[in-house]
Symmetry: C2
Subunit: 305 residues, 2 copies
Amino acid sequence: MTTPITRRTALKNLALGAAGLPLLGAPLARAAGAAANGLEASASRLPLAPAFKLGVASYSLRGMPLDNALVAVRRVGLNYLSVNRAHLPWENSPPGWAASVAKFKAAGVGVRCCGVMTLKNDEQAVRTAFEYARTLGVSVLACSPERAALPLVARCVEEFNIRAAIHNHGPEDKVFPSPHEAWAAVQPYDERFGLCIDVGHAYRAGADPADCIRRYRARLHDLHLKDSVANVGAEDTPVEVGRGRIDQRAILQALNDTGYAQMVWFEYEKDGSDPLPGLSESIGYIRGLLVGMGLDAAGQNRLVS
Amino acid sequence: MTTPITRRTALKNLALGAAGLPLLGAPLARAAGAAANGLEASASRLPLAPAFKLGVASYSLRGMPLDNALVAVRRVGLNYLSVNRAHLPWENSPPGWAASVAKFKAAGVGVRCCGVMTLKNDEQAVRTAFEYARTLGVSVLACSPERAALPLVARCVEEFNIRAAIHNHGPEDKVFPSPHEAWAAVQPYDERFGLCIDVGHAYRAGADPADCIRRYRARLHDLHLKDSVANVGAEDTPVEVGRGRIDQRAILQALNDTGYAQMVWFEYEKDGSDPLPGLSESIGYIRGLLVGMGLDAAGQNRLVS
């Protein structure tokens, strides 16, 4: 299974897969994803399934209490959650966190990230943020640190062995408007200190999301997927994924080509008080696009009813 | 514009289209769709956009009154409706119909079909059904006629110049379980008497939906799109499009290859009391699939926020 998978082989396997040869399914896709993860990865390799998984950023469900949000995640067909403070504040005491962890488990929802955490240069506050992440059992937290806090965050990344991913927040963000500034800021530190590319805010900041994914893949630890009809430089105008200006196809191709094996979070910002229709449309669009592009023939990201 | 469009030409035009040459957009796609409509059509032709349009079968919204249903159609990003009796009974008096027609216009929703109408061999009832269709301004009605009513329906098709499309309803339907029986039944009549293929019920009846589209394209006047996790022969178990067993990719390819230029209706049967999330996911999935397959590069079926 260590033989590099060429486009021709992969296409042949796709056809065989349709004929029902299970051995050529998910395990081979995994091997392909792993191969594509190295710097020698080339666009001519075509895994049978993307190495990344789809999940819901709980900010999308900010208008509902946690219990309802957990039901909603399952209803839209996904199993993974990135927890926002709207559902579990990170300033709470640890006993409160543990009760919620039990709820996630009972609901069958896997927590894989948390954030976006605003981090001041305050040792106690930053340590509390990492303890929260450790309690949730996640291996990465998305954050928006002030510049002076970077060395402190970098020390916690090493001490806790939890990756920190700087989230770019568009033109209004004076520290990290685009992934470019985040990438430059983490260079002095361990590679576990990296990026959470927000494709919508990156676009508004004048950065090309797919290009950023390719350039910064070595430290790409997390990703927020969304769409927007805002012009570059303009205020955010979020819409359902597939209705906006962002080239979703280019983003999925870049994630696939670089062997991105982390989470892709739907952060649906429109319709805060009734987000399910737009969130569902966004998830449906991306799944259809993956299948149509031949990137998910093995049904790795198949939704479950 | 009558030159046949080869795959190579179409791909070249796709690239030019991205560079912003509007003359190569929708009109050329129309021409390609028209060319593909003839019997000489071949799968090697690749229109820039499908000739069909996406709309909502109002049965999906049966749990809400007409006013809310019209808001819902616009919310899910579509502009076309196939009217079910849940929103406008066809047994009503014509004055009631006209008031609803005014509502459709005011909402900016185009009515393009109605049904599925159960038609007994009763001259007055069948004529009323066609008068209803004429009042709505549609050129096709979807129906489920009893066998004895076929000559009567055929006469009305000619008199009203409104196409009638027989809807197959799965194993429980003793007259038209699959498109095969509907196709055989309409052979003695004018070609305007044809089929509304319901892909979900066709699948349950053991018919291959994509194969039926290709075989019966000459009389394919309407289509209900859905998904199901039911086995062949089993009771219906409708799910969100993309989560079930039906090969949506094969269906879209068949519609494209045959130049189908009518409506594709989302008939979402699950979640009758709260259909918007699943309906939206279904629409998103099909739009993403079309874009991923390269069948909607011109954005013919782009949703509008």
